[in-house]
């Protein structure tokens, strides 16, 4: 076995330095609920593990003037316990909280869920629908990217060598906004999404949808932002006809795989149904805000 090194930087700057010196041979460790499984299965490449959990910025949730900053390594249990975020972005929180068991919740993070690059990652559609951005640190300094631009395909991200996600930014939404994430799995707990759907929307004073974003997981090589499904409800009162159009647009955007969890036809159909249900919940939440 090769000699695997470990390091535990205390600041973003120190982490950047260590990752740069490792010349692309280091793996970032957040909650480890994907990475350690890969390590144990002999599927992890690299000669160093860099634990980013001791960097304060990666572990904190901050209310800013125009939104929330959530550290990339904040665990599901920590995010779930944060009242203000639960109120502002219930769909984002429910995505992360659906991951695994209580034990997994003690560790699993938004950054790990996104950067692992699974098309079925449960917290990603919620972040995409929220219009969240991420702050990325690397050898060339800091940059900001949209969450939908990070995953390129199964296990592949647009992060360059030495880069890592520091935090996510969730913008403040206008009044009368709501979001929701739903996933379909064959059992009630501990399974991989057959389909995941998230909708975020805003209503004007007359109850007409003025803005919407729709995102789907597990129905293509990467999580999708489905602009056409959002357009189907913007300018409407999100009535039956608009929801039917949203549902059709969601199904039309699918390019799924066939596997034991669901056939292509099944996933395509369920994506439409789930998108519609998520939109209905988001609508109720928006009306209550």
């Amino acid at each position: 076995m090769s000699d695997l090194q470990f390091s535990s930087p205390k600041s973003v700057k120190e982490a950047v330095k260590i990752l740069f010196a490792a010349k692309g041979k280091a793996k970032v460790l957040a909650g480890g609920t994907d990475l350690l499984v890969q390590l144990r299965a002999g599927r992890m490449t690299g000669s160093m593990i860099v634990d980013i959990k001791n960097i304060p910025e990666l572990r904190s949730i901050k209310k800013e003037k125009n939104g929330f900053t959530v550290g990339a390594a904040v665990s599901g249990a920590e995010l779930g316990a944060h009242k203000a975020i639960n109120k502002a972005w219930p769909g984002v929180v429910e995505g992360l909280e659906l991951i695994g068991s209580t034990q997994i919740q003690g560790r699993a993070s938004l950054g790990g869920n996104l950067c692992n690059g699974s098309p079925a990652a449960d917290s990603v559609p919620g972040l995409i629908a929220a219009g969240a951005t991420c702050k990325i640190a690397g050898p060339k300094g800091l940059r900001t990217a949209k969450v939908e631009d990070i995953v390129l395909g199964p296990g592949k991200t647009s992060l360059k060598a030495g880069e890592f996600v520091v935090s996510f930014f969730l913008p403040t939404r206008p009044k009368r906004s709501g979001d929701a994430y739903l996933r379909f799995i064959p059992r009630t707990e501990m399974d991989i999404a057959v389909v995941g759907a998230s909708v975020s929307l805003t209503l004007d004073k007359a109850g007409v949808c003025s803005d919407a974003r729709v995102s789907l997981g597990a129905v293509a090589p990467k999580p999708l932002l489905v602009a056409k499904a959002a357009r189907a409800i913007v300018g409407t009162k999100v009535d039956d006809e608009a929801l039917t159009q949203l549902s059709l647009a969601a199904s039309a955007a699918c390019d799924p795989i066939d596997d034991k969890r669901g056939t292509v036809e099944y996933r395509t159909k369920v994506a439409g149904v789930l998108a519609r249900r998520a939109a209905t919940i988001a609508l109720e939440r928006a009306r209550g805000n």
Binding site: L4, F6, V37, S75, S101, T102, I104, E189, M190
Partner: protein, 158 residues
């Protein structure tokens, strides 16, 4: 191979061990410290037999590296009983016959203790969801859930 010297608190006492990067804290507890109460069922986060708490948070010891626990507080099944006095959860597991082979039991007890620390009056549904990451291939779960509910009642003084 590079070995790291790790200092932690385990069940309230200072503990030190040497470990390589790829060793999980489960490996360290069992192989370096002789604390074999935490079990290895799957090594992939699916069964919960390795449940411990890390700084008060319930986690799978098989998905935490030993080197990550530097300066952290670890609680294992070995710290649940007070000397010869069993914890109410342990007593009710015996009373209800909530175990057969016993491999899953330490994990269930540690997880149940964490549940009752956070929520002293869980409903049966809450208890079942909280314990969904703990698998038992012998008992069929009902007795486990009953034992936890009864222990919760006793701990509330009912």
């Amino acid at each position: 191979m590079t070995k790291y010297h790790v200092k932690t608190m385990i069940n309230g006492d200072p503990a030190e061990f040497l470990c390589g990067t790829e060793q999980t804290v489960l490996d360290c507890l069992r192989d370096e410290l002789g604390l074999t109460g935490s079990k290895e069922g799957c090594s992939s986060g699916d069964c919960g037999a390795c449940s411990i708490t890390l700084d008060g948070r319930l986690v799978c010891a098989c998905l935490v590296l030993g080197v990550e626990t530097e300066g952290k507080d670890i609680e294992t099944i070995e710290g649940v009983a007070d000397g010869d006095d069993l914890h109410p959860i342990q007593k009710h597991f015996l009373q209800e016959a909530a175990l057969q082979c016993g491999i899953c039991t330490p994990g269930f007890i540690v997880a149940a203790k964490a549940l009752l620390a956070e929520n002293p009056s869980p409903t049966e549904t809450e208890t079942r969801y909280w314990l969904a990451g703990n698998l038992c291939r012998c008992t069929g779960y009902d007795k486990i859930v009953t034992a936890v509910m009864n222990a919760a009642a006793e701990m509330r003084g009912e």
